[in-house]
C-alpha cells in the first residue's frame, strides 16, 4: 500500500456559470499562474493541492465543473461527496450573479447538509467593467450565512485566502481525532499508542 503523505483529505467542488473563471481560479491556486486561454471545461476536471493547516497536512482534491446547464446531470453527482463548495460568479456579468440563487438551490438539493459553502465574485481586477457591486455580493452571502470574497485569478487577489479559509472551516467541523484514533482506548486519556499505518 502506498504511503500516505497527508493527514486529511478534503473534497472541494467549484461551480458557477460558464465563463466566470472557475478553471482560472483553480489554476491560480494549484499552479500559481494565470492563463487567459483555457478551453471550456467539458464534464469535470480535477486538481490536487496539499496545504498545511494547524500542523496538519491536508490534501485538497478539487473538482472543477462545466458551467452549462447541459452538464448538470453529470456534475451534480459530485455534489454529494463534496465537503466544501465554491460558488463563483463574475462581477462583470450580471447574469452570472442572478444565477447564484439557482446554484444555491442546486447545492441544497444535491449536496450534504453540512457542506461548507463559499461565494466568490471573480474578476475583481476589472473594476471598469464591474456591474455587480461588492455590497450585493456581501448581502446575498449574509442572507445565506456563507463566506464571501471578491477574487481575481488574474491579479492573484484572495485566491489562496479563499481556499485556505474554506479548508479551515471544514477542518473546524472535522471531529478532532488522531489519525490512529480507532486504536486508542479512550480511558487511556489519549496516550500515544505508537505508529500505526493510517487508514483512508
Amino acid at each position: 500500500m502506498a504511503k500516505k503523505t497527508y493527514d486529511l483529505l478534503f473534497k472541494l467542488l467549484l461551480i458557477g456559470d460558464s465563463g466566470v473563471g472557475k478553471t482560472c481560479v483553480l489554476f491560480r491556486f494549484s499552479d500559481d499562474a494565470f492563463n487567459t486561454t483555457f478551453i471550456s471545461t467539458i464534464g469535470i476536471d480535477f486538481k490536487i493541492k496539499t496545504v498545511e493547516l494547524q500542523g496538519k497536512k491536508i490534501k485538497l482534491q478539487i473538482w472543477d465543473t462545466a458551467g452549462q446547464e447541459r452538464f448538470h446531470t453529470i456534475t451534480t453527482s459530485y455534489y454529494r461527496g463534496a465537503m466544501g463548495i465554491m460558488l463563483v460568479y463574475d462581477i462583470t456579468n450580471a447574469k452570472s450573479f442572478e444565477n447564484i440563487s439557482k446554484w444555491l438551490r442546486n447545492i441544497d438539493e444535491h449536496a450534504n447538509e453540512d457542506v461548507e459553502r463559499m461565494l466568490l465574485g471573480n474578476k475583481c481586477d476589472m473594476e471598469d467593467k464591474r456591474v455587480v457591486p461588492k455590497a450585493k455580493g456581501e448581502q446575498i452571502a449574509r442572507e445565506h450565512g456563507i463566506r464571501f470574497f471578491e477574487t481575481s485569478a488574474k491579479a492573484n487577489v484572495n485566491i489562496e485566502k479563499a481556499f485556505l479559509t474554506l479548508a479551515e472551516d471544514i477542518l473546524r467541523k472535522t471531529p478532532v481525532k488522531e489519525p490512529n484514533s480507532e486504536n486508542v482506548d479512550i480511558s487511556s486519556g489519549g496516550g500515544v499508542t505508537g505508529w500505526k499505518s493510517k487508514c483512508c
Binding site: 465563463g19 487567459t36 486561454t37 478551453i39 469535470i44 480535477f46 462545466a66 446531470t73 462583470t92 476589472m126
Partner: protein, 403 residues
Amino acid sequence: MSSAHKNKIAEFQSILSESHINLKVLRELCFNGIPFEGGIRCLCWKVLLNYLPRDQSLWDTVLQKQRETYAHFLREMIIQPGIAKVKFGVSREDVTLEDHPLNPNPDSQWNTYFKDNEVLLQIDKDVRRLCPDFSFFLNPTDYPCLLIMDPENEYETLRKRVEQTTLKSQTVARNRSGVTNVSSPLKSSASNSLGDYNPLPNGSEAHWEVVERILFIYAKLNPGIAYVQGMNEIVGPIYYTFATNPNSDWKEHAEADTFFCFTNLMAEIRDNFIKSLDDSQCGITSKMEKVYSTLKEEDEELYLKLQEQNIKPQFFAFRWLTLLLSQEFVLPDVIRIWDSLFADENRFDFLLMVSCAMLILIRNQLLEGDFTINMRLLQDYPLPNGDVLPILKKAKELQDSKC
C-alpha cells in the same frame, strides 16, 4: 516524400477517380490514415460523412445546391434579422405598433432576438477559446463571407450583436453625486476585455468568427439542442481541415461544407449532447458503461483497479466520448484519429474501442498509481511515444476480437 506515401496517394487517387466510389475499399484505405496532399482528406471526409454521394457525376450539383442553401440560411437567419433590428432601432412607430422589446408574446421578434443573443453569447465565449495554443483560429480567413461583410449593408452582424450585448450590461454607472454616466460604446469597446480575440478590422474576419457563424446557424436550425458546450470542439477540426485544403476551389467554400458535414456528424452523435437522454439507452451514460464493460472483458485486473479506486467513467470518458477525443490530443493527432473513426462503419462503437484501448495501453501506469495519479493520467493522457497509431491498432484488435 517516401515512395510508400506516394503509392498511398496514388491508391487514393485511383479510388476517388472512379465514377462510382467503392465505399468499402475507400473505408479500408481511409482507416489507415488519409493523405492531406491534393485535398484528398477533405474529399474523403465529405464522402465518409455522407455529404458527397458515391456517384461522382452528382458532386458538382450537390455542392452547388448545398452552398446555395447555406447562403440562404445566412440571409434568413443573420442578415434579415440584422436589417430588421436596425429598422426597429430607427423607426419608433414600428416599435410601438407591432412589436417592442418588452413584448411578452413568445412569437415576438424581439423575444426571439433576445433568446438568440443568449445562445450567441455562449457560442462566442467558447469559440474564442477554441484550440488556444494554436494560432490558426485567430488568423484572418482568406475568404471572409462577402455576403456578411458587404460594407454597403447597414445591418447588425453577429459581431456587432455580441459587442452590443456585452456592452449592454455595463453601460450605466452612477457616481456619488447621482449622475448617471452612460458610457459611449466606442470608449467601452476600446478597452474590451476580449483581449487577443478582438475582431479584426472591418472587411476581414478570423477563422473563429466563421466557426461562430456555423454554430449559430446550427443552433437556429436545431432549436431542440441549440448550442451545447463542446460542439465547438467538433466543428474545429472539420473546419480546420477544410479551410487548409490545398485545393483552393473547395477551400473557398469551407464554411458551407463544414456546416453540412458537421450537421451530418451531429445527426449521429447529438444524443451525447442532450441532457434528457443521459440515462436512456442511447445516451452518454450507457456508452461510458460500455467502455468499462469492454475493459472488464479485456483486462479485468485493470477494471477492478479502477473500480476499487472509485474512478468512474464519468471522470474522463464523458469528455473523451462527447468530444470524440478532440480535447485529449493535439490537432494533427485528433485529425488522424478521426480518419479512422469516420472510416469505420460502426464508427462510434469504434470510439468506445479506442477509449478502451487508451486505458489498456497505459495499464502498467494505472495499476501502480493511486487515485490522484490515475485521475491525472486519464485527464491528461500521456500518449505512449507521442504516437496515436498504437491506440488505433489496439482498438482495431479489440473490435475484431468482438466480431
